[in-house]
Amino acid sequence: MFAIWAGKLVTLLLRMRGKDATSFPGKVALRISPKLLAWFGRRIERVIVVTGTNGKTTTTSLLASMIGHQEAIITNHKGANLAQGIATAFIQAASWTGKLRAKTAVLEVDEATFPTIAEALPIVVIVVTNIFRDQLDRYGELDTTVEKLFEAIRKTEACLVLNGDDPISRRLGLRSSRKTFYYGMARETARQDTRRQIRDGQFCLQCGHELRYDGFWYGQLGLYACPHCDFARPHPEFIGTYLGPTLRFSEEGLPDLTLDMPVEGLYNAYNVLAATAGARVVGLWSEHIHAGLANYVSPDGRMQSFQLDVPVKLNLIKNPTGCDSVVQAVTSDPAQKVVVIGINDLAADGKDVSWLWDADFEMLTDDPSIVRVITSGLRAHDMALRLKYGGLSSHVISVIADMDEALDAALSIASSQSLPIYILTTYTLLHPTVQTLTTKVGSHESTNVAYRTSVS
């Protein structure tokens, strides 16, 4: 109980000082009582976990919004997905006597953290978004990530909701011997391969032969089959057809749902599909699913827009596949534009910046409408080097290591020509950038009173 009080006091103190209280209260409380999560675990009825490499935060928020329309829930917002972030979510949902104000928790859990908390909580459903290469210095290698997930699953009695288009997730499902529901995109929407992108798991994880693909969506997500053994993409229980502004959601025996997409892009269509599949598995009606999507508020750094003199869109990048999706979205805007790329190499960003070279930044080279790219952050020079060797003209590249100065420079170039700005940053630069931009929106509003901004 003392641990909860300590956590709540820390929350109050942080909030009084205007700070973000998404992890630190839990850290303090766990220091006092390491078994705090198990203590909460005995007081909550069911926990739904979302994990995977990309799209965890968006999928968790979408699913939380859907289930939250039906009943009170506990969730860890803003991607605070390590043990301390999860503990913080429970502390903030607990009264001073330790009573929780909800029976269901929807939690985003980091893959590496998952085995350490799996036993403590009554996890009934595990939704896995996908398994890509991410932050190698933290997880060892991709195979280690799969082991971690497998280890965590074994410690629960949960059923699984997996991405059937992802061969690595499929392997996880086969190995786990659990009730597994697969979701996937409609077969006919797969594309033939055009660009060379990084694909993990292109070899059969059962027998080592190269997988045959009849089509791709992105990364290694596609219509795969092993020519040598029985390993193949399963027929998904939940099928999505991405139609741009909407996603058609089909499952056998029920009428199709036409879901309004609250966020753009194919990778977000997968997130909507994963969240809706999870919602169906826990028994949610279509009414709650629609309402959940309508009420959804986009987390920071997912095409988050700020209206200054010019429109600014902010995106988190953290690994090659996720980065490729973002760069693709940026270059699909035909307008002339200014791009800012901020790269840090702190623990939460990944200390190894090698992944920048696996991401397809050549898409920027191929985009004639890019007026300027400003690289920033602790590893601003490495990013500039990446662009130089990617063939981007040196006249277009500027290095401004300080992020605030980089933003000011971008605004001054963009405003004079009325161009949109796209900002891409790694994790530890994201929140400071949100704060800077929010402040700028505030002062912009006070000078343009008649103008209504839309910050989503």
Partner: protein, 251 residues
């Protein structure tokens, strides 16, 4: 002007591409093109038959343990040919897993030995319960100055050859010897990625000069504008390995 095309083979990019080997290929090809050379990159997947006599430089990258096992299996049939070519001076740049593959074997934590190509008197062992050697690394090399980057390897490598360099910061081959990598004929083996070559343009040019000589091209490499590369080197050292920066004023 001799502008013969230089042929670079990237062996098994489908299996060994863990540490941004694309960045190394890109650095080699761009630094040739910027000097007016033409270059062809042969992506030799595990389904292709490698034609060692057609290549002027081979790049062998890193993969996960599982993928490395598959590669060792595929390469078995070419072992003798590759060894003969290397003895004959074929330039090979081998990084992380590719570096380990040049040795006799790689022993996994469970004791299983993945056989290597056995070209160098060298072996690698992951040990039991030992931590991975992870972090920023800088070494001093005789012919390419300070080489810097990131290392992330579970394996400890022991060999009888010249090292690539002396560790100034980080772990190196085994975290104990104080040396990193290997130099043997025209082979460079190293755990350094990040990727290796973009921020180490001198090493890139040493590799290219050797490959051009091997190809029979006599022209020297003209200097390039490496201003951005040098800024990136200085910024990286200052931020992450300041003691190296102060100990070696000229990079």
């Amino acid at each position: 002007m001799n502008r013969r095309t230089l042929h670079i083979a990237h062996l098994f990019p489908d299996l060994l591409n863990l540490y941004a080997d694309r960045g190394n290929i890109l650095t080699l090809t761009q630094r040739l093109r910027w000097r007016g050379f033409s270059v062809e990159v042969h992506e030799v997947t595990h389904r292709d038959v490698p034609r060692l006599s057609a290549y002027d430089l081979i790049l062998l990258g890193g993969g996960s343990d599982r993928e490395q096992g598959i590669v060792a299996e595929y390469l078995k049939g070419y072992k003798a040919e590759l060894k003969a070519a290397i003895e004959d001076g074929l330039p090979v740049l081998a990084i992380c897993g590719g570096y380990q593959l040049l040795g006799a074997y790689y022993q996994l934590p469970n004791g299983e030995k993945l056989p290597g190509l056995d070209i160098l008197n060298m072996y690698t062992s992951a040990g039991v319960g030992l931590p991975r050697l992870i972090g920023n690394v800088a070494i001093e090399t005789p012919d390419a100055g300070i080489v810097m980057g990131f290392e992330n390897h579970g394996g400890r490598t022991v060999h009888e050859h010249e090292p690539l360099g002396k560790v100034l910061h980080g772990h190196g081959n085994d975290g104990a010897s104080g040396f990193e990598g290997v130099r043997y004929h025209n082979v460079w083996g190293t755990y350094i990625h990040g990727p290796l070559l973009p921020k180490n343009p001198r090493l890139a040019d040493v590799v290219l000069t050797t490959a051009l000589q091997y190809a029979g091209v006599k022209e020297p490499l003209e200097p390039l504008d490496d201003e951005l590369e040098n800024q990136a080197r200085q910024a990286f050292l200052k931020l992450r390995m300041p003691e190296v920066e102060t100990s070696v004023p000229s990079l």
